[in-house]
């Protein structure tokens, strides 16, 4: 059950680099405060078919988490791989990582949202599950890779749009 306040959902060609820039813009102070090295390395040519508002909500949440769980002087890189049909957006941090049980829990698509077992500190109120649902609504897929004390990489696969299509 998707509990998001968003009612207007409209997929269109979205310039990935710009969207990441816009979301990261508001986090500049936080990143500087924690001395985190942030880089937006999304290729300029990446366009995806997605609803911009929900994509921004997901990115805000993931970046928020990355910053929260990455210690001072850490690293957060956002990149994208472009394949024939997809763009895979990767948000990689050098943070504390996600414990294995929780990781499997989050990557399990059949799991329905519940508060049991989620160890959330104060945050936006949206969980990873919600992000995953929103990505799926955009006909995309989300995969989380993580190693405790080393870091986490979140991969979001979205439909690619060819420029001038």
């Amino acid at each position: 059950m998707l509990q998001t306040k968003q009612f207007y959902f409209h997929k269109e060609s979205v310039h990935l680099l710009s969207i990441v820039q816009q979301v990261a813009f508001n986090y500049k102070p936080l990143l500087t405060d924690k001395n985190i090295h942030f880089e937006n390395q999304v290729p300029k040519s990446a366009f995806v078919l997605a609803d911009p508002s929900s994509l921004k909500i997901v990115l805000r949440n993931l970046l928020d988490n990355a910053i929260k769980f990455t210690p001072e002087k850490g690293r957060i890189f956002i990149t994208a791989e472009i394949t024939a049909d997809h763009c895979i957006l990767c948000i990689e941090d050098s943070g504390v990582g996600i414990p294995l049980e929780l990781l499997n829990h989050l990557n399990n698509e059949n799991f329905s949202a519940s508060k049991k077992g989620t160890h959330e500190k104060t945050g936006t109120g949206l969980g990873m599950q919600l992000c995953s649902d929103m990505i799926r609504k955009n006909d995309g897929k989300m995969l989380i890779e993580s190693t405790e004390s080393k870091g986490t990489t979140i991969r979001i696969q979205l439909q690619k749009v060819n420029p001038n299509e």
């Binding site: 310039h15 710009s18 813009f25 420029p163």
Partner: protein, 248 residues
């Protein structure tokens, strides 16, 4: 080149001031700030407006949508617009969707979001998408202007000030009454989008604004244009002359 002109319809002064500041810093001209539906319409028809930023709720009523509905009625008068809203109401979104907004921004938004939304709105309205963010094109063509993205600023050139266009590979040199500058757009695309009655191809490398032709010197394959610009006329392209009534 001129600045792109924005009309702001927003009833909260703090928010409209923030918008004015961001837009001015980014080289947009503010056509005006309207706080009510009535003021909005007045400013829209009195001033030169290229794009409108509309707050959905004005003084408690969804008048922003009514404004969009109104300007959409006359295709010639219609302009691209962006909705700003803090509203989550489903019915509002449904009604707003019917006006075919070119972008929907949820408040609070940041500087980059609004600038992006304006560019996307212009692209969508004139049916030429993925232009401003691509590597090989920087110009959107409307019926009376060219919208050109130079570095991070959007500029506008009125088509009726263009005297001629000289093509150079993937670039076009635009020569107007007062300036000369370069844009990135393919010749094919440009020819498709410019009205063929107003702009004719006179040579492999030249497109001329017919209203700026002052003299045709056939024996020398030459066209003399306003401002004493001389442009070559090639044999292959002489056909267009038949469309004019030329006294022999």
């Amino acid at each position: 080149m001129n600045n792109v002109s924005v009309l702001i319809i927003e009833d909260t002064p703090a928010e409209s001031e923030a918008l004015v500041q961001v837009l001015t810093e980014n080289n947009y001209t503010i056509a005006g700030v309207a706080r009510t539906f009535g003021d909005a319409l007045a400013l829209f028809y009195q001033q030169t407006v290229d794009i409108v930023i509309i707050d959905v709720f004005l003084n408690g009523n969804p008048d922003g949508i009514a404004f969009a509905e109104t300007i959409n009625i006359t295709p010639d008068a219609a302009r691209p617009f962006v909705f700003l809203t803090s509203s989550n109401d489903r019915q509002i979104f449904d009604r707003a969707k019917l006006t075919k907004p070119f972008s929907f921004l949820l408040k609070p938004f940041n500087e980059l979001e609004i600038l992006y939304a304006l560019e996307i709105a212009i692209e969508k309205f004139y049916g030429q998408t993925n232009v401003f963010l691509s590597d090989d094109q920087d110009t959107v063509v409307s019926t009376d202007s060219l919208f050109i993205k130079k570095k991070n600023t959007l500029k506008k050139v009125r088509i009726d000030t263009i005297i001629y266009i000289e093509v150079e590979e993937r670039y076009c040199n635009i020569i107007t009454e007062h300036e000369k500058f370069v844009i990135m757009i393919s010749l094919t695309k440009l020819s498709e989008l410019l009205e063929s009655s107003k702009f004719v191809r006179t040579h492999r490398n030249y497109i001329v604004n017919t209203s700026k032709i002052e003299e045709i010197v056939l024996p020398e394959n030459l066209l003399i244009l306003q401002g004493n610009h001389k442009v070559t006329l090639s044999d292959k392209h002489k056909d267009f002359l038949r469309k004019f009534n030329i006294l022999k």
